[in-house]
Symmetry: C2
Subunit: 418 residues, 2 copies
C-alpha cells in the first residue's frame, strides 16, 4: 500500500474513533483524564530521558536558549502537565449542553445542542506540554485528535503520547482516539491537509511560515493561531503608577510569547511625566527601546523606530514606543499595525475605556490589566488548544467550548409544513 | 485607475462603514429596518417593473419553471419581504450581549461579548428576496454587507437595493454599509475573494459549481451553503399514519428546495405495511420512485435505484427508497450518502430517537417532524442568510447570532501576571 493510503487509513480510523468519543459519558471521560494524569507522573523517568535526547540534539543544532527553555521538561513541568489534565477533568463537560431552546407556535421544540467537532488536526512547535494539553482538551470535548509536533521535540512527544495511549487502552477506547504523527517531514501533513471529508478542523500553532503553508495547502477549515502584536495604551487619564507596573509586566515578564506587549502607546499629555521613568526601568531590565520622534525628544539616547517596527512581533526584549495625540489615534494605530490578538488601555476614564473596548477589534481587549493574561489557564479554561487570531468560530484562547460545534435537535409530534 | 483598484476601494469603504455600524444603537437599527420595510412597499411599482424585465429575459433564455417561479415577485411577495424586515427589527439585538462572564481569583472580570463579524460578502442565486433579507440581517447584527446576486435577477436586485439604500441615506449612514455588485461577470468576485484583510466572511449560496469555485478562489473564511440530501427514516416503532404525512410533506410540499427529502429509509419490519400506500400517494402526486431491491419486491413497477441515486439531491419530484434492517443501518446510510443538512426519524421509541439524534451528524436532526422546517423563518430567526452545511462557526439556518463573533473584554484594577 502506498504511503498516502496509509495516512488516509489512519485518518479514517480517527473519524471512526470520533463517533465513539462523541457518545462517551462524562464520568468515563473524567476517569480517563485522571488516569492519564497518573500515567504521566508514573512515566516521568521515560519522558525525562526522551526529553534529554531532544535537548542534546537542540544543543548540537544550536537551538536558541529561548526555544531550548520551552523544550526542557523537569519533574515540576511534568507535574504541571498532570495537574492540567486534572484541571480539565474538573471542568464542565460541554457536550450535550443545550445552548438555547425555542418552542415554536406549531409546537416544535428546537434545542441548539453542543456536539463535538469530530476530528481535529493540530500542528505545533516546540513545547511538549502542548501534546498532553491538547489530548486532554480534545478528549473532554469528545473529539478525536491527530497531533503533529515539531521535530525538535519528537522524542519527548512520543514518550508523552505513548504514556497517555496506555490509558486509552486500559479504558477500552479505540487507540485511534489520539494519533501522533511520528514522521517529521511535511509529506504526511500535506496528505492530511487534503482530507476535508475526514478531518473537520486544522489548528496550526507556530511561526508565520508554518501557518501560511497550512492555510495554502489545506482544503479543511483552518483556525489560525497567528502572531501577537500587542499594544498597551496609556491614556491621559491613566493612573501612571499602575500603568508603569502593567507595561513592565506586559513587556518583561516573558517577552518570548504572543501575548507580550510589542508597542507602547502613550497619550501626549502624560508622555513627559510617564516615559522617562518607564523607559529607565525597561532599559534596566535589558529592554531595547525604539521610539517615535516625540519619544526621542522626551528621552534621550533612544533608537528611532522605523515603519517596520510598528508591525513587528519582536518576541524579545525590544519595545517600540509612540506618543499619540488622542485616544482615536491610538485606536487607529492598533487597527493598522496590530494583529487583533490582545490590546490594553490603562485609564481611569470610563468613557475612554468603553470606547477602547468597543473600537479595538481584537480577540482580547483589556482595561487596566496586563495583556499577559491572554491564556487558557489564566482565563479559567484549564488549558488551551492555542489562541485564535481568527474572527470566525473561535477567538482568543480556545478551550473546551471552542472545540465544539452544535446541532439543532428538533422535537415534534407529526408537524408538517404548510 | 484599474478595475481591480476600484473593487478594492469599494471593499475598503465597506470596512470603514462596518466600524460605524458596529457601534450603532439598537433603536436606530430598528428604526432603519422599519423605514426600509416601508420603502419597499412604497417602491413596489418600480421593483415589480424591474422584475418583469428579469422574467422576460428568463422566458427568452428558457429558464426552468421552478427557477422562474423563484424569480417572480408580486405584491404579496414584496409585502412578505417588508414583513421579514419588520420581523428582524422585533428580534433581540445580539451585539453587545455578554455570552458568559468569569471572575478570576485575581479579581479580573472576563466578559465574552458578542460583536459583529465586520464585512460579509454573500454570493447567491435567483430569489430576489434574499437581497432584502440579507441586508436586514447584516444591518441588525452590525455588519456591512457586499451582495452579489445572480445575473437572472439583476434588475430586481438593483431595484430592491436602490430602494433600501434610500433609507441608509435618510438615516445619515454611510452608503457603503450595503453594496450591490452590479456587474455579473466573475472578475469582480475573483478580486473580492482575495481581500482577506478587508472582508471577514464569504457566504456562497447556490449550486455545487458556484460553491466549489468560491471555496477554491477565496483566501477569506467561507461558510458554505451546500446541498441538502435529506433523509426521513421510518422506524419499526413509528406511528405509520404520522410517518406517511411527514414523508409526503417532506417530499411533495416544495421539492425544489434544500430541506426537501431525497431518500426515504424504512425499517424492514414495517416496510410491507408502510410502503405500498405511501408509494401510491407519492406517485399520485407525481413523484417518481427509485427503489432498492426490497422496495421493488414489496411494490411492483418501480425503477431500480443505482448507487448515484443515494448521493443525489434531486430538487425535483423524484425519491429514492431503501429498506433497512436496523436503525444502525439507517444511521450508517445517512453518514455515507447524506450531506449533513437535515434528517428525520419517525418513531415512538424514545431510545431510538435519542440514538438517532446523537449519532446522525447533521445540522438539523428531527424526531417526528418534517425536514422542511429547516429554515430561518420557521426556526424563529426572522429570516436567514442561508443554511450552513459547515461544522465550524455556524451550522444550519444562519440568523443574527450566527452573523456575530465575540471578543473578550477584560476588566482589571492593575493586575499583572506573576
Amino acid at each position: 500500500m502506498s504511503k498516502t493510503n496509509t495516512v488516509i487509513k489512519l485518518a479514517m480510523a480517527s473519524k471512526k474513533a470520533a463517533a465513539e468519543l462523541s457518545a462517551l459519558k462524562t464520568s468515563k471521560k473524567n476517569a480517563l483524564l485522571l488516569d492519564m494524569a497518573s500515567c504521566l507522573e508514573r512515566g516521568k523517568k521515560r519522558i525525562l530521558s526522551a526529553n534529554r535526547k531532544d535537548l542534546k540534539r537542540a544543543r548540537k543544532s544550536r537551538l536558541s536558549s529561548a526555544l531550548t527553555d520551552r523544550l526542557r521538561l523537569d519533574e515540576r513541568r511534568i507535574k504541571a502537565m498532570a495537574d492540567s489534565l486534572r484541571g480539565i477533568a474538573s471542568l464542565k463537560d460541554p457536550v450535550g449542553q443545550v445552548i438555547s431552546t425555542r418552542k415554536r407556535p406549531n409546537g416544535l421544540r428546537i434545542n441548539k445542542t453542543r456536539v463535538p467537532i469530530g476530528v481535529i488536526f493540530i500542528i505545533y512547535e516546540s513545547r511538549p506540554n502542548v501534546t498532553s494539553d491538547c489530548i486532554g482538551l480534545c478528549i473532554k470535548s469528545g473529539n478525536a485528535v491527530i497531533l503533529r509536533g515539531g521535530s525538535e521535540a519528537i522524542n519527548s512527544n512520543i514518550a508523552i503520547f505513548d504514556t497517555l495511549q496506555k490509558s486509552f487502552k486500559s479504558f477500552g477506547l479505540p487507540t485511534a482516539s489520539i494519533t501522533l504523527i511520528k514522521r517529521t517531514d511535511r509529506k504526511v501533513v500535506n496528505t492530511l491537509l487534503k482530507q476535508k471529508n475526514i478531518i473537520d478542523l486544522v489548528i496550526p500553532r507556530g511561526g508565520e511560515g508554518l501557518i501560511n503553508f497550512v492555510a495554502r495547502q489545506s482544503n479543511i477549515p483552518v483556525v489560525k493561531h497567528y502572531k501577537g502584536v500587542c499594544h498597551v495604551y496609556v491614556d491621559k487619564n491613566a493612573n501612571l503608577n499602575m500603568a508603569e507596573k502593567i507595561c513592565f509586566n506586559a513587556k518583561v515578564q516573558r517577552p518570548g510569547v504572543c501575548n507580550a506587549m510589542e508597542t507602547l502607546l502613550v497619550h501626549t499629555d502624560v508622555a513627559a511625566r510617564f516615559l522617562p521613568s518607564m523607559i529607565r526601568k525597561l532599559k534596566a531590565a535589558g529592554v531595547e527601546i525604539r521610539g517615535c520622534k516625540k519619544t526621542r525628544l522626551i528621552t534621550k539616547g533612544i533608537k528611532a523606530a522605523v515603519e517596520t517596527d510598528w508591525y513587528a512581533e519582536y518576541l524579545d526584549l525590544i519595545l517600540s514606543v509612540k506618543v499619540v495625540r488622542t485616544l482615536d489615534e491610538a485606536i487607529t494605530h492598533i487597527a493598522k499595525y496590530g494583529s487583533m490578538h490582545s490590546d490594553a488601555i490603562v485609564t481611569d476614564n470610563k468613557r475612554n475605556a468603553d470606547k477602547f473596548l468597543k473600537r479595538v477589534d481584537s480577540a482580547c481587549v483589556y482595561v487596566n490589566a496586563s495583556t499577559r493574561f491572554t491564556d487558557g489557564g489564566q482565563f479559567g479554561m484549564g488549558a488551551e488548544m492555542g489562541i485564535s487570531t481568527e474572527k470566525l468560530h473561535a477567538r482568543g484562547p480556545m478551550g473546551l467550548e471552542e472545540l465544539t460545534t452544535y446541532k439543532y435537535c428538533v422535537f415534534g409530534n407529526g408537524q408538517t409544513r404548510q
